[in-house]
Amino acid sequence: MSSPRNRRRRWLSSSIAALLLVAGFIGLTSSQAFAAGTLTNLSWSVNNSQTSKTAVTYSFAFKTATAATLTAVTMTVPAGTAGTVAVGTVYGLGAGTVALAANTITYTVTTPVAVAANIAIYLSFTGLTNTSTAGSYTSVITTQKSGPTTVDTGTTAAVTFGSSSTGVTVKVGQTLTFTNSTPSFSLAVDPSMLNNLQSQAVVLTVQTNAASGYTLAASDTGLSVSSPAFTIPAVSSGPATGVATFPTSGWGASATLTTGGTDGAALAAGLSGAKFVGYPSSPANFLTATGPTGATADTLTLTDQVGVDYTVPDGTYTDTITYVATPTF
């Protein structure tokens, strides 16, 4: 059996050992905090990998590992890289300037701001001339804070430059497809109660890869006859104003929209709730999409409707409706 004195001594030595362990752990972790972190998701790409090729764009992307107020990002490039470097696109960092010196591209942030950990940053630079020496090259990307002190660093996968290699640039054009299932139609109406209201469905589809979407505007010349001169009135002034009840004498359309849901397509306010709107004399937006349609085209089903009463003179009425599908830049 141990005496109380021995027990106290053992307790004291265990406490000291535990303290030393904790102190060592703290020292270890605090020294790690001062070491540079490792950037993740690094990539480096060029839009043409032929040696000595001019006007090449270099793009760099990565995720930060350590929260810091970044002042600059440096990216090494192969020896012999030249050209008048210019800033292309910057995401995740503030405004800055770019310079190429000593085989390093340096993007200096004008007003350094705090950047959290795990933030995606993308930088592209134009106007570069590739090295004349063929080979595979990696790029070391380094983020810096004031000092300059390295915050995070990492190395990208290699890009191969070669005189015999083929620089591949794929440009995907901006395409707008616009179809109409029922481009023309005739309606026969008379003021009798049995036949005074006629309608025709027109299905339009729009499909585009335009990044900012498109607008679909419409206008008409008026549903009119020349002799005697008469125009069947539009049910409203345009797509902003809809009417729930179709008038006894009027001309207009209601619309329904089917969309893939990815392009933010939306009908004009007046077309909500199956209301009817009139076609305006100058183009007005019936449909607006803010992004590309993707694989599913937007389908706009318009129900053009005419109603006549005994105030409408007989005759052949014609109209030209122009739907305007315009890509958004």
């Binding site: 901006q174 395409t175 109409n180 481009p183 005739s186 026969a188 009425y317 305007v324």
Partner: protein, 334 residues
């Protein structure tokens, strides 16, 4: 009965509308014919334009191609003409009849008339002879692709437009301002979210290209949200709205939205506009909850007071016995 195609074209010119689809409609009033005639066949087209601005030097010829395709099964004759582009806010455009005054007689389209077999496409070469005095900037050219329809009774025309951006290099005056709109610091609403827009305005004399980064953090969301908006062109004097919103599942939240718009000030440097806005989202339900909690607390307090006073009344006779017991326990422990 016929809505002639060229009448439609003239009318469209008068209206200043351009890209799109023309629909000729005939309505017969008081004619004993079937109520509805069969619709005509469709003519479906597509146009592909270059995705990036075309480098263009004043005094030289800039070239690009448009791809025009016929998605229908029948052959189609197509005309291609150039039209003016009216630039609007939020990247919207409208083609206006007639060529751009700056490029009158300077745009060549080869071929400007072509016959497309069913399910086929053709390349159209577009060349622009740039005036020598053209100042450095981005210029938008518009093209209208019109199928030629020959019909004895009803003319049907589908028009599609294409845009080409010419970029003339050189020093530019690019300036950007931005502000929040519709985002009050206190948003009281039955919905759990507040939304508004960031309105960027190009205040220089040249077209500016900018990208946007939006970071939102606050309570009760544990993590910051981070969103980047792809780069957009913004011609001088126009605006572009970027929607922004915050929401709290609690109906009560405190958020700060940090927005950074980075634009190409010169070729070697970028400029930035930084905005920050704190928004408190408050569902009016919380106005009921707070008084309810206070009332409940007061009720509990009153109840406990009553219980205590009743307890004192009941325990009044046995107090001396308890004191005795306590003293007995104290003795046994000691």
């Amino acid at each position: 009965m016929l809505g002639p195609m060229w009448t439609r074209r003239h009318a469209k010119g008068l209206l200043g509308s351009a890209t799109g689809l023309g629909l000729a409609l005939t309505v017969l009033v008081s004619t004993p014919s079937p109520a509805q005639a069969a619709p005509g066949p469709s003519a479906d087209l597509f146009v592909t334009s270059p995705p990036d601005p075309i480098p263009a030097t004043p005094g030289t010829v800039a070239s690009t191609t448009l791809t025009v395709g016929n998605l229908g099964h029948d052959p189609l004759d197509v005309n291609i003409i150039t039209e003016s582009v009216q630039l609007l806010d939020n990247g919207h455009t409208r083609l206006v009849a007639g060529p751009d005054p700056r490029f009158v007689g300077r745009v060549s389209i080869v071929p400007n008339h072509l016959t497309l077999a069913g399910r086929s496409e053709r390349q159209v070469q577009v060349s622009v002879n740039l005036p020598k005095g053209l100042k450095p900037d981005d210029y938008f050219l518009g093209f209208l692709i019109s199928p030629v329809i020959n019909s004895p009774s009803v003319a049907v025309v589908n028009d599609i437009g294409g845009l080409v951006v010419l970029s003339v290099p050189g020093p530019r005056d690019r300036k950007l301002t931005a502000k929040y709109i519709g985002l009050p610091w206190l948003h009281i609403s039955l919905s759990t979210s507040a939304s508004g827009i960031i309105r960027a305005t190009s205040v220089g004399t040249s077209t500016v290209q900018f990208s946007t980064t939006i970071e939102t953090n606050g309570w009760p969301s544990p993590k910051s949200s981070y969103r980047t908006v792809p780069a957009h062109l913004l011609p001088p004097g126009l605006t572009r709205d970027i929607p922004v919103s915050v929401s709290s599942w609690l109906g009560l939240g405190w958020y700060t939205i940090h927005t950074t718009l980075v634009y190409d000030r010169t070729d070697q440097s970028t400029g930035e506009v930084a905005l920050s806005r704190t928004v408190i989202v408050l569902n009016p339900f919380w106005f009921l909850v707070v008084p309810a909690v206070i009332l409940f607390w007061m009720w509990r307090r009153r109840r406990s007071r009553r219980t205590r006073s009743r307890g004192r009344h009941r325990a009044g006779h046995s107090r001396s016995a308890n004191v005795k017991d306590q003293s007995r326990v104290r003795i046994s422990v000691g």
